[in-house]
Symmetry: C2
């Protein structure tokens, strides 16, 4: 398992290229929640999501030989864009495998940053299969989406920034896809805010980690139907789950309807565009799923890459 | 004319209630503009616009007797919301006169903060007439939208925050409605960044200050048809124009189409909701109306209160 020191080292690497995103707050959000809430706005990050942190840290760590081979990644969207931009910044050729149903804006994003996009079926199994194929045939180096020490350490750097801007936290709420963000966040948060409770959040349909956490073993679910496309991974990673079991205090769920209400609040009241997955952790705080009162809470808005056409239909 | 000291004093007052809004940046924005651009995100301010700064500073300055009388303000929207919230925070009864055509979300905003809303015709002349009537009949104290020293000083406080976050600026681009924001900004900017060029921006249809600046006297235009509803004021204020003549280096215009393109970029690429008036100053930098290259530029995003129904039609 990585240590907090790995995250500190990663921060020295990624801070050269990432935005230090703001901690936003809203009196209306606080009133609705009954708590004092800070929102880490990673939707305002480069590529519109936290994924650039892990991707850059990982590709930066490759040897010159590996960098020359080129890299391959598979992703429903934001990891693809993170890898594409990180590769471009480091002068590495990138190919990303994306499910056919990926939001068009995320596909376009990956292409904008100069990556080759290869499509696959919608299950995360098929993604992995196609990516493995390209590793073997074209000798590309795989940049895994979450089950990787460098990726986890990179994603944890957002919490170092949080600690630069606020001294105390009672709770931190983090969305769970494959466990990259919550892995890094939990490790960093427990170090930086010793008394903090780390809460993972999924949507009801994508509750694989909710189940895994209770069973204390990784549960794999069928490709879930949820508005949160970043949570369509079918299981968390091994390294990620090890950290989750050690450092996460609870895993809870919210409904797709609660996520949509949260997105609308962000747009109308806070003037920020948040993608469904990015609204999951805040929704748990806004709707106060845990029944907390007067606590100081940080929720991570993981991304903002929502297709404007889709957004219109949700509004 | 007020001095920089008045803005410093105002900052001590308003900093207790306003958000310190972030300076955002985007590599894509920079590339498109050819300059290094910082965006002061006052769309992320309380009430979704900078107006809370001036309104709070003004109402705070009233005597206990004046506060007891209650206040009245007239506004196409954001000033109404600023006055409503500031009055609520200070325990003062507020009435706002709004044109019939005001965006529904801005009317709803003012009501949310507990203000009474009275409608008038769409010209700024009629707004002033109705507001004056209420002053006389109900003995309310007027909180003017821009032609007032306390208002101007309050709006200038955004620039104190800008100077906390960046040391040097070659240019600052500011939208012009009645001149409250540019008045305070120009005064503060010339003090805090002695070499800065202050550029005012209007839309082509709402170019009253563009004309006034060239004639060196206040020109009054017919109610302009422009997407930028915050620029439908027909002339800048006297106090404001005095500052503009002394401290503003140029006034330029952008088209409504450029404003819409800017709003769309903010939504899609930067994940922020910006209202038309808020996109005017950034649009002049994004489309590089002045043909600048390699300059360090701040543009103020003045607000984000766009009606979601209207937003859908623009997209």
């Amino acid at each position: 398992m990585i240590s907090f020191h790995d995250i500190e080292v990663a921060y020295e690497v990624v801070k050269r290229v990432v935005h230090k995103t703001p901690l936003l707050s809203s009196h209306q959000f606080n009133r609705h929640s009954g708590n004092e809430v800070l929102l880490k706005a990673e939707n305002l990050q480069r590529i519109g999501a936290f994924k650039i942190r892990g991707a850059y840290n990982k590709i930066y760590s490759l040897t010159p030989e590996e960098r020359k081979c080129g890299i391959v990644a598979h992703s429903s969207g934001n990891h693809a864009q993170g890898v594409a931009l990180a590769a471009k910044l480091l002068g590495v050729q990138a190919t990303v495998v994306m499910p056919k149903s990926s939001p068009p804006n995320k596909v376009a994003g990956a292409k904008t940053y100069g990556a080759e996009v290869v499509f696959c079926e919608d299950s995360s199994d098929d993604r992995e299969r196609v990516a493995r194929q390209m590793q073997e045939q074209r000798k590309y180096v795989l940049v895994p989406p979450f089950d990787d020490d460098k990726i986890i350490a990179g994603q944890g750097t957002a919490t170092i920034e949080i600690a630069q801007d606020t001294r105390e936290l009672d709770y931190i709420f983090v969305p769970i896809g494959g466990g990259g963000l919550i892995g890094g966040t939990a490790l960093a948060a427990k170090q930086l805010f010793p008394a903090v409770n780390v809460i993972g959040v999924e949507t009801v349909a994508a509750n694989d980690c909710y189940q895994s956490f209770r069973k204390r073993e990784i549960v794999r679910i069928s490709p879930p139907k949820t508005i949160a496309d970043g949570m369509r991974t079918q299981a968390v990673g091994k390294r990620n789950f090890e950290i989750i079991l050690k450092h996460v205090d609870d895993v809870i769920t919210v409904t797709d309807e609660q996520v949509i209400e949260m997105m609308r609040f962000f747009l109308e009241r806070m003037k920020i565009v948040v993608e469904p997955t990015g609204a999951v952790a805040p929704a748990a705080v806004y709707h106060n799923v845990l029944g907390l009162s007067g606590k100081k809470i940080c929720a991570i808005i993981s991304g903002g890459n929502v297709d404007l056409t889709l957004l219109k239909t949700w509004l």
